[in-house]
């Protein structure tokens, strides 16, 4: 896999490694493995590493003076690296209410794809989704695993405001808006669970790269009940 890697000096103190290979769980596992190896070996040099579907961006604390030397150093570390299992072995259940009050574009998708709304909900809540990375907005998960029957073009007119917790479909992707934001995705439901608690300074996002999740359909009254009793609600995690 390292033979598909392209190294690019991204700026004075960052190197981008891009892998030209199929995007899947195995690639993500390797990216996360590499990320952890580098962070372990060079904690004093590396400020942060972020991963996306097929890339690692390594941000150093110092200016990179000799890019090719640095590249060879990284390659040696990665060649020697023992790949570990970085993908979670459990699935987090995210409750989602697909009622038309929240699923404001269910009808549109229904007519676009000639699917009953019940069928859309079934197809959307069946699979387990892999969190590839968090980007776009604080806490926004890029998920893999959407059933191709649900691929839907984005709205021609983006909405100026989408609720925090809204679950949507954009092209071949599905995701959850962690905060209210403008957006062009088709909205099919909403979760009462906050993805990112901004009130706590050391809070982490609920979701992380390498984790699995599943959407669990809930009724409107269950939505309200969870929303009103958030502190008592415990997310279920199912072992694979």
């Amino acid at each position: 896999m390292l033979n598909t890697a392209t190294f690019i000096q991204y700026n004075e103190h960052s190197i981008l490694i891009q892998f030209d290979t199929e995007i899947n769980q195995k690639l993500l596992n390797n990216l996360l493995s590499f990320k952890n190896v580098l962070l372990e070996k060079e904690p004093k040099q590396i400020l942060q590493i972020i991963n996306t579907y097929n890339s690692l961006l390594i941000i150093y604390r110092f200016t990179i003076n000799k890019f090719y030397d640095k590249k060879n150093e990284i390659l040696k570390l990665l060649e020697a690296a023992k790949l570990k299992d970085e993908i979670s072995n459990s699935v987090l259940e995210i409750p989602v209410c697909y009622d038309e009050e929240f699923g404001i574009d269910l009808q549109e998708i229904s007519s676009l794809k000639s699917l009953e709304t019940s069928e859309i909900i079934k197809l959307h809540s069946e699979p387990k989704y892999l969190v590839y990375f968090i980007g776009f907005l604080p806490g926004f998960p890029y998920l893999g695993g959407l059933n191709s029957k649900l691929f839907s073009r984005r709205k021609s007119q983006p909405r100026s405001n989408i609720n925090a917790g809204a679950v949507g479909i954009g092209g071949e992707q599905t995701g959850i808006y962690p905060i209210s934001s403008p957006g062009g995705w088709q909205i099919i439901g909403q979760t009462p669970i906050p993805l990112f608690d901004f009130s706590k300074s050391e809070s982490k996002t609920l979701l992380n790269s390498g984790q699995f999740l599943k959407f669990m359909p809930i009724s409107k009254s269950e939505f309200q009940h969870i929303e009103n009793n958030l502190q008592d609600y415990e997310l279920k995690s199912i072992k694979l």
Binding site: N11, L16, Q48, I50, G135, L137, E202, S209
Partner: protein
């Protein structure tokens, strides 16, 4: 309570050099738009270069101090007043309780800074005091208060600190971006040789360039971006990501500004002319 915001102007905020801890959670780096001016301001006061400062915009700022300390205003071209008497920029200024510092407006630059001895104190979120909504409030409002430490000791002015920054340059230095190699010869030639100008679409997230180029590149699979990344949209727009930029993006990344060029660009006003100087691959 040690400092009170009397007039916040537009877009004023508390900033340091930003947060990298939370990028994996999708949180932007943020931080001061112009690190050169802030590094200078903090060195005038003998602070670490990334101590938190107040960043303010062209409309200026008015604040009242309630504890004695030293402050400095770091601005390329501003008329600054302490209790209505004109004072210099880039020098340490003694302030006493009830003193009022006023910057009416910036004459041609965009962002300027107020620094205080030992930096402003506030809660750090993910390793930074920088404002970023929804982690913190977005901007200062009238009546907001901000803490700093009292400072009344002797202060030896550092004679080495001089304002030698060149903000007249129109040259923006850039690394070839991750998708630069995919551009046609014509586009590469245009990027290297054409003169561009800044549109009025500018904010802490991104500065858009006025001119459009014919784009034949497809969108990319979403990948990492950083402040200074220049994205090329399907409509041919060039978008320069700035400090509050998202951490990932789906448009081709054709150029990457150097740190110094991000600082320089941040201070350019609408219609300013600019040219790119692309850094050849080094070893």
């Amino acid at each position: 309570m040690s400092l009170k915001i009397l007039k916040p102007g537009f877009f004023s905020s508390l900033q340091d050099f930003g947060r990298t801890e939370a990028m994996s959670f999708g949180v932007p780096i943020s931080g001061v738009m112009d690190r050169n001016l802030v590094g200078l301001a903090n060195s005038v006061l003998g602070n670490p270069e990334n101590s938190a400062v107040i960043e303010f915009f062209q409309q200026g700022l008015e604040v009242e101090f309630n504890l004695p300390t030293l402050v400095t205003v770091s601005a390329i071209d501003a008329d600054v007043f302490l209790n209505d008497s004109p004072i210099q920029t880039f020098v340490p200024i003694d302030v006493k309780p009830n003193d009022i510092l006023k910057i009416k407006h910036l004459n041609s630059s965009v962002w300027a800074y107020l620094a205080v001895k030992n930096g402003f104190k506030s809660k750090s979120v993910f390793g930074s005091q920088s404002f970023y909504n929804p982690l913190t409030k977005a901007n200062f409002s009238k009546g907001d208060v901000l803490d700093y430490e009292e400072f009344e000791d002797e202060f030896q002015k550092n004679p080495e600190v001089k304002h030698e920054l060149d903000y007249n340059s129109q040259i923006l230095e850039a690394f070839p971006g991750a998708e630069f190699h995919k551009l046609s010869k014509t586009l590469k030639y245009q990027l290297k040789n054409a003169e561009f100008s800044l549109s009025k679409n500018t904010n802490r997230m991104a500065y858009q360039i006025q001119e459009r180029l014919d784009n034949e590149l497809d969108e990319i699979i979403t990948g990492p971006v950083l402040p200074g990344t220049i994205q090329f949209t399907p409509q041919g727009k060039l978008i320069v990501l700035m400090r509050d930029a998202q951490v990932t993006g789906g448009y081709p990344r054709i150029l990457q500004l150097t740190e110094n060029s991000i600082n320089l660009l941040s201070q350019k006003s609408v219609k300013s002319k600019m040219k790119f100087q692309i850094i050849e691959k080094n070893s």
